[in-house]
Structures are given as structure tokens and as C-alpha cells.
Subunit: 266 residues, 2 copies
Amino acid sequence: LAALADSLPNEKISLGADRDADIAIVANPPPGALAALPNLAFVQSAWAGVDGLLADPALPPVPLARLVDPSLAAQMAEAAAAHVLALHRQAPAYAAQAVQGLWRQLDQPPASARRIGFLGYGELARASANLLQNIGFQVDAWSRSDIVVNLLPLTAQTRGVLGAATFARMKRGAAIVNLARGAHLVEADLLAALADGTLSHAILDVFETEPLPPVHPFWRHPQITVLPHVAAITDPVSASAFIAANIARFRNGQPLQGLVNRQAGY
Amino acid sequence: LAALADSLPNEKISLGADRDADIAIVANPPPGALAALPNLAFVQSAWAGVDGLLADPALPPVPLARLVDPSLAAQMAEAAAAHVLALHRQAPAYAAQAVQGLWRQLDQPPASARRIGFLGYGELARASANLLQNIGFQVDAWSRSDIVVNLLPLTAQTRGVLGAATFARMKRGAAIVNLARGAHLVEADLLAALADGTLSHAILDVFETEPLPPVHPFWRHPQITVLPHVAAITDPVSASAFIAANIARFRNGQPLQGLVNRQAGY
């Protein structure tokens, strides 16, 4: 709120549902909350992903913009690089050996021999792909890759894309990194693919149910690394700068950045 | 041997101690083995580190060159990036949380707010520092860094450099990555520094005794990641190309690359 107020000195900003508001800045409001604002003319998401907002059947038909923030893209690229390098350098296998006190050197291809595929190629994926290319990886078509990074928006078309049919088209023993939404993944299909060697490992930052329940089988699975949705967190200062600029565009009748196409779902 | 023979079509190459040889290509021969070669005129190491050779009191006073191989530098940079990113993104803490099924988001600074220090600034360290800068980290003076990467040569002056006095000058809670030699580290000082919070974590690729004995306390220590000396492995093809070029220089009386300064110890 302080960062927003600094960025928007000429706007009155209130916390919570203010019936006088014509602009709503939201993350994941409860369904119906936006429909209760009679003067609403513009909704600015504080997140890059707007699947939660679009799932609200009462979402008013006003312009909706998602967050396009270089800080988010930079964080996502760091997370993708950390996870891809961990898989590339076989961190899970060496961790398993360490539990046994086992000194064994595994064959190690160079990054230039690893193909990293992306599902999705928006701002976040492009920043991640550029960084991985700078590190020396091949970044190309996802289908036969060694490591697949998912950064798709969640839409009716992409729900469940990380499932048995996709895994079957990947290189045998490939790994996946899911940095987008939990509903992209069919959890039972992942467990089966890890068990039969179709996939070797999964690094998951997002889940169908968050927080992931303490009894969920993913937590202690030796082929799954669980992270509590930390790949890219909205930074108050850089997000406020984007939001303030977009609100100025709205007030001046200029085209909005990050305008959501409701048909496409992102 | 096949890669060397391909690179050196005009040389007679034998495996083992050939008394007719005037050039020895070695990794870690037993002490005294080189002194038994009466015609020895040049020793080419197949490794970047020559501390083992220089520790042989009977090492003949002929030119000694270490391996300078872009493939080694690229591998080392990948290893350094993988380990620094794992520490930066708090992989050890999230792994510990996963064992408990604990969903907790930790504060995450961006790479641009992390200072990575290097001990050593030769070919391997420069390649690693360049890659880390490309990823977005600050790379600067080591003493107050968040993460210190050791790539020093092992000499009388650097033995034990990763000890209590050095740790005390680092930022409290910093982490170390040792990719050089086990004897750089004072093992008891590391255990004490981890226990009292001076350091938060150590990623170790090298050890005083290798293989690390299965009962060694480092294996299952929650603040130590053990790797079986895999950061950079000599690649036969690229190493042979360097060695063949250096042997051609030797035959033609030209200056050698990677010539070791015995006084300096590297």
C-alpha cells in the first residue's frame, strides 16, 4: 500500500472493497467481490497470471490488465536457471548418494549438449530462455527435450497439459519444471511417469491445492522437489511502478499494457 | 590414449613408464615415478591443478605445464553457477522443509543483491565469475560476500585458507563453495562455523581424503552438500588438443602454455 501510494500521489487509495472505487487493484479476490463495486471501470491484477480472476463467473465486463513486471521476469529466470542447473548437474542423484555415503561420479554432459524446452513463450518464458541460452544450454522445441520448463498461462486449453500424453512425447528420462500453475499438471500421471522411467524428476513450484497438504505424497517423493510457490513474488516497488503507469494510461484513455484477452484466457 | 594418438600423429605414445620417453603426460603419478625416466625433458599435466606433482620431492627440474582447457573452464563455470544458484535460491532450506511437509515461503533477494566472492582468479575462476555476472549476480571482493567460491591453486600459502580466521571475516551466515582442493579447507573449523551460525552452508566438491570415507560426518550433515569431485572432468578430446599444441611448442622451442612457476606453486 505504501509503495502504491508513493507511485500514485493523485489517486485516493483505500484498502478493501470501496464502493466509490472505479479502479480495483487485485490479486485473488473472492468470487463476486468485484461485481459488488458499482463504479468499477478497470481491474489491474497485481499478478502475472489471471486464471483465478477469469474463473469468477461474476467478473464485470471492464478492461482487465495483468502485471507485466521486469522484476517478475528476472526472478522467474533465476528460478528456472537454478532448477535447470540442478537437474543438469544431477543434484537429486548426488543427494541420494550422499544419504548412503556413496562416492560415485556420474557421466556429466556439458550444458551445450542439453536441450531445454519451454511450454509457453510469454514474457516470463522468454526471460528464462534467454538466461539459459547465456549459460550455454540449447533452448528449442520442447517435445524431445531433456528438461521441459512450463510457463504457460492456465486456460481451458492448457489445463492438464503436463499429463501422460505429453510425457510420452518427451525424451525418455526427461525432467519437468513447473513454474506456472498446479492445474497444468495431472498429479497421478506424474507419479506413474516417474515410477516407470518416462520421467526422471520433477521440480514443482505450484500445486492444484496450495499450500500443499502436509500428507501429500509429493513432499517426500525422492524424484520430486517441492517448492512453496516462490519462483517469482510480486515486488511492491516495481509492481507499483507498472500499476501507476497503467492507471495513468487508463485515466488518459490510452491503450493499457498487459490487457487480458478474455477469449484466449490470458 | 586414442584421443592423444589422434592429436599427435608424429609422436610415439606409450602407456606407462617408457624409459625412452622425453615427454611425460601425467595426472597423479606415484612420487618418484618421473625421476625414473632418464631422458625426461618436459612434463605436461593432464589436470589444471599441479599441487600433487609439486609435492613429489623427486620431481625432475624440467619444464612443467598444467592443462589450460576451455572445456574445463566451461564445466567449472556450470558447476559454480549451479551451486551458487542453489544457495541463492535456498535449496537446502526448502529441502529441509520438504522433509517436514512444511509450506513456508522464505524471503528471496534478487541475484543483483547477492555478492559472490572468489578466492583465486585464474582461468577457471574468471570463467565462473563471468557466467555469474551474466546471470545477474554481483561479483566482487570476497571478504564480505554472501557466497564465496574457492578456486585457488593449492600452495603452501593457500593450504587451510578456508579456516576460522577467513570465516570470521565473511558476512555472518555466508556460504562457501569449494571447487579447488580439499586441503584448502580446515574441516573442524567448518563444522564449528556451521554450528555457531558463522556460516550457513557449504557445498564441497573436493576433500582432504578422496573418496570421502562413508563414515565421514560431512556426508549426512544437513548444512553440507557433498559431491564426488565432479565439478570439472578432463575431456579427452579438448585436453588432447591442448596437449598436442603444447608438445608442438616444446618440439619447436617455443614458449609453453600453462608453464608452472615452481616457486609460486602453480
